[in-house]
Point group: C2
Chain length 309, copies 2
């Protein structure tokens, strides 16, 4: 199984278009210790030929252009991308669907909640319903992924609910502390090769490590996990925003309730932070925070990172 | 007045993600005579400091990253982009608005028809209404462009209806040959400096040169015009699609009703093709079609083209 990190940044990318903070400035100035990153997406393949995308970022066209394995190979219209699966309805995970038009057949997997968000936006009608089949991911049940014609691609996923938050543009301010969040608004995925033992957990958004999640991830071979913020209040402290990580549905890396502490005893063989926000100091390879996560056995994903299982 | 072509390709960009046609292949292989291009957008400034974007393409984040003049310059959050104006509601002209989020103030100009299309898609709610003021462009009347606080930026626009077609995802198949197209679905813009005579006509989509348009453009200093297709049936002939240019709301370059013939007697000082589709042979600098348009006094825009008036 091959895993390709297409984009390792959170929403807005890195540098973010309107951010003049110290990290975005260093990236824009070409500092080699602070590498630019596009928005959150991975591609996975069991055979190196047919690929599943997980999330479709606003930077998808650039990401596909930069990865020769994802270029069309035959005929006049073609893509090695057989299907796309979404983990939530955030703009940074669905806007790339607007690139995947032009009469191309593929399958589009998402929870019923996320499928509903797509249906409620007529602009996604550019995905011709005769070509793009929308399939519901049922929570808690393994499901074989298939291309548009139903042919298997050698991968299966098990979607599971994780603590999270409904997408910003779907928040209901009248609905209390959770803004109307329901099960299926944010999911994690166990992605496995149908043949063999290769398996990766993909959780680009996760608000807390609760007991079921801890049991699920214990002893995993590979986890790609929410690395949005280092500290829960770092955007406020830096003057870059008004929201905590928790308010945005993301648990921090540091602190007693952070992922560093939460994963300390989980015996996960390889742990990789993805979905890293432009405010997160781990983006700087010379920062003490980067040293701290590496000392704890974590890797910080870069665009183009390739992992073979 | 400075005009910066951010993206010179039509919807899908060049190469297009799923296109394996000869032109996309040459661009992907790095042929220097067939340059890659991002999707349709220009930026205009009267003072080199405050910019107006015209259309927001899906490639906007990449386009802003590549243009130092459009990088943030001060404070923690900033952009030199004071406002955005849209010429229609096509995906290739509005998807970039999803990049222009992150609590940034600017003004968003569009015809009432295009504003309605944005309102009908809740995803554009990520543009915080407290920060992004949506203003209606009235047809046929000059209007000063202003930033989010209402401060003038030294530019005025005159929007005018042009023959065109409603956006693909808004087509009404029951509505006859025009799919329910109404006035305001496609507009052209006269963009002028408030001080001085500098003035450009911007028409990235235009289905026909009718009599009012001919009179309007006659003797202009600079026109950026719809260069989508060279021949009306080129996508069908190449096996790349099932639609003619006219069906998509774009007049061809060649032929008795094409723009080469239509502009022949208009005495426009500088004529530039923008919004060029990946099927259009003028993208190859060694093609006879490229030679033909250049012989007729046209320039084919590339990304990053800068014109000072």
């Amino acid at each position: 199984m091959e895993i390709l990190v297409l984009g390792s940044a959170a929403g807005g990318g890195f540098p973010q278009w309107n951010c003049n903070g110290p990290l975005s400035r260093r990236a824009r100035d070409g500092d080699p210790r602070v590498k630019p990153r596009t928005q959150s997406s991975i591609a996975v393949s069991a055979d190196g030929e047919r690929w599943a995308l997980f999330n479709a970022s606003p930077d998808l066209r650039q990401q596909l252009t930069e990865q020769p394995q994802l270029h069309p190979r035959e005929g006049l219209r073609h893509t090695p991308v057989a299907c796309v699966a979404l983990t939530n309805a955030d703009v940074d995970h669905i806007a790339g669907l607007l690139t995947m038009r032009e009469r191309q057949a593929y399958a589009l997997y998402a929870s019923e909640r996320v499928q509903a968000a797509l249906r409620d936006n007529p602009i996604f009608g550019v995905l011709d319903p005769a070509l793009v089949e929308r399939r519901v991911l049922p929570l808690g049940r393994p499901m074989a992924l298939a291309g548009p014609e139903g042919g298997p691609i050698g991968l299966e996923v098990e979607p599971f609910a994780v603590p999270g938050k409904v997408a910003l543009y779907l928040e209901d301010p009248q609905a209390g502390d959770d803004f109307g969040t329901q099960e299926g608004d944010t999911i994690g995925l166990r992605i496995a090769a149908v043949d063999g033992d290769a398996c990766v957990y993909y959780l680009p958004g996760c608000a807390a490590l609760d007991a079921p999640l801890i049991e699920r991830l214990r002893g995993a071979t590979l986890v790609l996990f929410d690395g949005t913020l280092y500290r829960d209040d770092e955007m406020i402290a830096a003057g870059l925003g008004r929201k905590t990580g928790r308010r945005m549905g993301h648990m921090p890396i540091a602190g007693p309730e952070g992922s560093l502490a939460g994963f300390a005893d989980l015996e996960v063989a390889r742990k990789v932070y993805v979905h890293v926000n432009n405010s997160n100091p781990i983006l700087a390879e010379d920062s003490p925070e980067r040293a701290a996560v590496e000392a704890a056995g974590w890797q910080v994903a870069e665009d183009g990172l390739r992992i073979t299982l």
